[in-house]
């Protein structure tokens, strides 16, 4: 052997089918043994776990139930169709002539505005309290 042993990464690559194709395993007993022990390790880690019989039976029943049903492949498009209809309806609603806009309110002059603010400032109680106070006034 002139070349060195395989690296850890080369062993892993080889296990997954993408390792070097240099024939080293045929020539080197040590690496071959390591490779075989890694194959055994992979089988151990990847061995099939138990699946409860009841679970598989229930799954088969569900499949049989679905086999009995008519083909409902198009049913999944119903929500999309409904959403599209809403969008189309919305589009036409927006195309309707716009509602008449209300006439703008009369502009309040600056003088009037200052007078109102001044009156508010001079008042010792909030305007909203006026009607309530009136309830307790005689006459």
């Amino acid at each position: 052997m002139t070349r060195g042993h395989w690296t850890e990464q080369q062993f892993i690559d080889s296990l997954y089918g993408v390792g070097p194709e240099d024939g080293h395993l045929n020539a080197c007993a040590e690496c071959r043994a390591r490779h075989e022990s890694m194959i055994a390790r992979k089988r151990q880690i990847a061995s099939e776990p138990e699946i409860p019989f009841e679970f598989l039976a229930a799954q088969r029943r569900a499949i049989h139930r679905r086999l009995d049903q008519p083909d409902r492949r198009n049913a999944r498009f119903l929500p999309v169709l409904a959403a599209s209809l809403v969008l189309v309806a919305g589009f036409f609603a927006m195309k309707q002539p716009p509602a008449p806009t209300p006439a703008p309110k009369a502009q309040v002059s600056d003088t009037q505005l200052f007078a109102d603010i001044y009156a508010l400032e001079q008042s010792s109680e909030p305007r909203a309290a006026g009607p309530v106070r009136a309830l307790f006034e005689e006459n």
Binding site: I12, D13, R41, A46, S47, P49, E50, I51, L56, I63
Partner: protein, 200 residues
């Protein structure tokens, strides 16, 4: 058997026979298909529903009798992998999805505990299994399919290519990327610190 099943479905007795044949074939493939879906999707409910979808598609295909099926096991694997790929792709948009439950992760890669009676070995294998499973999340849908078919089903790259409809070069490229992303976990799985080594 699948040759007979691929005949177009006749009325009456023919339909019953087809269903009977289909049912016994399904029993023979069901566990493997479910485990494949579970390993790809890492979610018990999702895998259950994907398995059902796969067999349903298979049945509809057989009933139509449109083409002969040479290798039924490979064929149902292909259907199942495609169902899982579709689900993985649509998951990209499901940002609210949570990680699989730890017991699901153990089931996915942990292996059969019955084959390792030693408790320490079981825990060790389960820990490694959980780490590797969590790491599968880092793979793209195709990388996950390629890796799963090799790691768990021990399929050749050519077989994987024909299942996924990819040429061998592309399968190799996906495998390289998958191994790169799983490098640390795989080194731990295959480290010299094997179960025997730990005992000595």
């Amino acid at each position: 058997m699948m040759g007979e099943m691929a005949e177009p479905m006749a009325a009456g007795a023919g339909a019953a026979a087809l269903l009977r044949d289909f049912s016994s074939w399904m029993i023979s493939e069901q566990k493997r298909v479910y485990l494949l879906c579970q390993r790809m999707l890492q979610d018990r409910e999702d895998a259950d529903s994907a398995t059902q979808d796969a067999f349903l598609k298979a049945y509809q295909h057989i009933r139509r009798g449109s083409q002969e099926i040479d290798d039924p096991a490979k064929w149902i694997t292909r259907i199942a992998v495609n169902v899982c790929l579709d689900r993985l792709r649509s998951r990209k948009w499901q940002f609210w999805r949570k990680r699989p439950a730890p017991e699901d992760e153990t089931l996915i890669i942990g292996g059969a505990p019955e084959s390792r009676p030693d408790a320490e070995d079981r825990i060790f294998a389960s820990e490694i299994g959980q780490r590797l499973t969590a790491a599968l999340d880092r793979l793209s849908a195709r990388q996950r399919a390629v890796f799963t078919l090799r790691h768990f089903e021990d399929r050749s790259l050519e077989e994987i290519g024909s299942i996924l409809d990819l040429d061998v070069g592309t399968v190799k490229a996906h495998m390289f990327r998958a191994i790169q992303k799983l490098r640390e976990e795989l080194r731990d799985v295959y480290a010299y610190r094997t179960l025997e080594g730990r005992k000595s």
